[in-house]
């Protein structure tokens, strides 16, 4: 899902930056608030960021005969909600752009929108929806991660299609082409990421860590 340096026309770089930065700023604000309220939350935040670092470094082969990597944002979204996840993601993306030439500074906004914002947000919505239907933490966590991962790549395909519509057939045709490259490859990886997040959540729960830190305390007290 990393759009490489210089691979988006300038106007699109600006659009995605403008969309990403306010949400990242809100995520930083939320992280600071959380740090004031919850003791020891910083180490959980660091672990969640590390989780994104590890999973997004692992390029795996997939059914399409090409390789891709998970995003690792599913855990963050279950623990902290989407805005803090956006903040953690931009750190990882910046590191990869500067040190690995993976992604880029010009495309950092676009990559943050896909991996840090829209993907995790959809994962979060899926999580809340199945939680409301009384699904267990592990099932819901699996689905959160699955959708956060997969939707990230669908968004990348959409971003590239919007910037590079086919001369005949327009945006839809180029979306189909990018979707074929990115999204199909991603399905098995999203499943693996889902299981990994379920495992991490189970371990946290067994050690008495309160998951769903994004919930206001009054509300989470009422739920089993």
């Amino acid at each position: 899902m990393h759009i490489a340096e210089g691979f988006l026309p300038l106007e699109w770089c600006v659009v995605w930056y403008l969309l990403a930065l306010p949400i990242v700023a809100y995520g930083i604000y939320r992280a600071q608030k959380l740090r004031e309220k919850e003791r020891g939350v910083m180490s959980l935040l660091a672990m969640t960021a590390a989780f994104i670092f590890v999973l997004s470094a692992l390029k795996m082969p997939s059914v399409t005969g090409s390789c891709s990597h998970p995003t690792g944002t599913g855990l963050g979204v279950v623990l902290f909600g989407p805005s803090i996840t956006a903040f953690l993601s931009i750190i990882v993306l910046l590191f990869q752009a500067l040190l690995l030439a993976h992604g880029g500074i010009t495309t950092l906004g676009a990559n943050t929108v896909s991996m840090g914002i829209i993907g995790p947000f959809v994962g979060w919505l899926a999580y809340i929806a199945v939680r409301k239907m009384k699904a267990g933490l592990l099932t819901s966590g699996f689905l959160a991660a699955f959708f956060a991962d997969l939707v990230t790549y669908v968004v990348t395909a959409g971003q590239l299609a919007a910037a590079f519509p086919a001369t005949k057939g327009g945006i839809l045709l180029s979306f189909e082409a990018f979707f074929g490259i990115f999204a199909i490859t991603q399905v098995p990886l999203a499943i693996i990421e889902g299981i990994t997040v379920a495992l991490a959540l189970k371990l946290l729960q067994e050690h008495g860590v309160a998951v769903e830190m994004w919930k206001p305390k009054e509300v989470s007290g009422n739920e089993a």
């Binding site: 470094a57 997939s62 005969g65 090409s66 390789c67 500074i105 990018f178 050690h207």
Partner: protein, 95 residues
């Protein structure tokens, strides 16, 4: 023996990862390149697009790039391991 949920999940991850690796022998003609670079190649080739800016620094070779990727994963795992180790230690000292 009662199977722990965490064990089942860990085994599932290993099985699914190894079946993806086994898949590489089933599709002999595939090149196993990155989907990211495939996407960028599509733009370059079908639209004659020239990227208008280049990375400030690029790892000089594939080896050095994989070193940096492994370091990224290793440092991340270290932090995760430290965090869970500390949780376990705290839980045991509370007993």
């Amino acid at each position: 023996m009662k199977l722990e949920v965490t064990t089942i999940l860990a085994v599932l991850i290993v099985i699914s990862l190894s079946s993806l690796l086994a898949l590489t022998t089933a599709i002999p003609k595939a090149e196993w390149g990155g989907s990211d670079s495939q996407g960028m190649e599509l733009i370059e080739q079908s639209l004659n697009y020239e990227p208008w800016s280049n990375p400030i620094w690029e790892p000089p070779s594939g080896e050095i790039e994989s070193l940096l990727f492994s370091l990224q994963a290793a440092i991340g795992s270290l932090i995760i391991g430290y965090y869970f180790g500390r949780l376990k230690g705290r839980k045991e000292s509370e007993k």
